[in-house]
């Protein structure tokens, strides 16, 4: 029962201390390899070099949704099993998810300017990612508004679960809204499958960014555990002095 073993924060800290240097190394190597492959990849015959934004944009867009799934699993861990590390995991994941979503939005916007001629379009996908970003920010605000960490964890867990149910509904309704109001001029038709020269760098970058998330997540969880220890020590010190 690895998950039960990890419930002990000290054991978790010891394990991640051994794991993190390797993870950092592998992530850096993969990221370099992916960037090099992306650099070598051929330009698109229509979009030219701007298509290379995709190698950053698509992995971030994937992660923006993946992080919410991770937080949903952590929320279940908090509410159902009261796993002590689950709320740490959920809290550490929220700003990372917001950051990945933000990068996806910004790169998408920068990509849209040369190809679509506009920084922002109320396209269904962009709109639902923007709403996802707002929900990340709301979740972070909720984390910060409650002082007691375990109570904040349970409130945030409920909001995460509600979001997990609602995000598909929002996505569906935004799709519906967009197709009703404007013709599908920007949504490109399926087209041919991605050529291997582009697909392979994309997959490497996706793996590199996923590892980046794992590395940052573990590091943020370590920081959160240490932050809580410092807080507890300060409280004990203050109580002792009083």
């Amino acid at each position: 029962m690895a998950l039960i073993d990890l419930a002990n924060p000290t054991r978790f800290l010891a394990l991640t201390a051994r794991l993190l240097p390797w993870l950092i190394g592998v992530t850096a190597l993969l990221m370099l390899a992916g960037l090099q492959q992306a650099y070598m990849a051929p330009d698109d015959y229509q979009q030219g070099a701007t298509v290379k934004i995709m190698f950053v944009h698509v992995p971030n867009a994937w992660l923006s949704m993946f992080v919410w799934i991770v937080m949903t699993a952590a929320a279940l861990g908090t509410l159902v099993w009261r796993h002590p590390l689950a709320d740490v995991a959920a809290k550490a994941a929220a700003p990372l998810g917001a950051a990945f979503t933000f990068v996806a939005l910004v790169t998408g916007s920068l990509w849209g300017r040369p190809t679509w001629g506009t920084y922002w379009e109320w396209d269904a996908r962009m709109t639902s990612v923007l709403i996802l970003f707002l929900m990340y920010l709301g979740l972070i605000a909720l984390w910060r508004a409650v002082e007691d960490p375990s109570r904040a964890a349970r409130a945030a867990a409920i909001l995460t679960l509600v979001g997990a149910i609602n995000i598909p509904i929002i996505k569906f309704s935004v799709d519906w809204w967009n197709t009703l109001h404007q013709p599908a001029s920007l949504i490109r038709s399926g087209g041919a499958a991605i050529h291997p020269t582009i697909l392979i760098p994309l997959l490497i970058m996706a793996l590199a960014f996923s590892l980046l998330f794992l590395t940052l997540h573990l590091a943020a969880m370590r920081n959160e555990i240490l932050r809580r220890r410092v807080r507890t020590l300060q409280m004990m010190q203050a109580a002792g002095r009083a």
Partner: protein, 222 residues
């Protein structure tokens, strides 16, 4: 059942007798509707075109305004603890509270809508359609908002956070409410689809809202 009936009765009496709660929501709704022409100019054709959207936005903001009181008053006088500890399932208590809150603050918005439609140059039939969509949609706003109200009940600065948490979750209601209202005006044949989906969303929130609100009340206050 009698406990829930008593709870609904009590909440309604408080809403009617203390501070004119329902009327403040309607007054805020009216103010929003009046402000829009100042912002975009007294252009009657334009107002007629965006009228349903303005009414929906106004009603949404007005229902948000009254949401904070849903649990905080009970929290202040301690009756929330009694409600949580009582033998009635907390989920049903939440449904009862949402129902009372909707009758006190959502229904007046619906009733006022046909009147405010006149200010926006809407035909009576269009106004009545918007009122119909609001009649179906405002319960969903209350039920979704109840989750936020339950999460924010223990916070010091709950009000702003409540809006930030609840508004993104209400986007589907807004989309289909406005779509149904516009469809009725432009092409009556396509009214049914968005209206049915709006009903479906309301029914979905009837399940999710009380369960999530009850869970966060239990988790937040122990």
């Amino acid at each position: 059942m009698t406990a829930l009936g008593a709870l609904i009765r009590r909440d309604l009496l408080i809403a009617i007798r203390a501070g004119g709660g329902a009327l403040i929501g309607v007054l805020f709704f009216l103010t929003v509707v009046v402000l829009i022409p100042f912002a975009i100019g007294p252009d009657l054709p334009l107002l007629k075109r965006i009228g349903p959207s303005i009414l929906w936005l106004g009603a949404m903001l007005a229902s948000l305004l009254t949401l904070e009181r849903l649990f905080t008053a009970d929290q202040d006088d301690g009756s929330l603890d009694l409600l949580i500890m009582s033998r009635t399932p907390l989920e049903l208590t939440c449904v009862a509270k949402a129902l009372a809150h909707w009758i006190a603050s959502g229904l007046p918005l619906v009733v006022a809508t046909p009147l405010f439609g006149l200010l926006l140059n809407l035909e009576p039939k269009e106004s009545l359609t918007v009122a119909l969509t609001l009649l179906v949609g405002t319960p969903a706003l209350t039920l979704t908002g109840m989750i936020g109200a339950a999460l924010a009940v223990t916070l010091r600065r709950g009000g702003l956070l409540l809006a930030v948490l609840v508004l993104p979750l209400s986007i589907p209601v807004l989309i289909f409410g406005v779509a149904a209202s516009n469809a009725a005006a432009l092409e009556p044949s396509s009214f049914g689809t968005p209206f049915s989906i709006l009903c479906a969303i309301t029914l979905t929130t009837l399940v999710i809202g009380p369960v999530a609100a009850a869970a966060s009340l239990r988790e937040g206050l122990d």
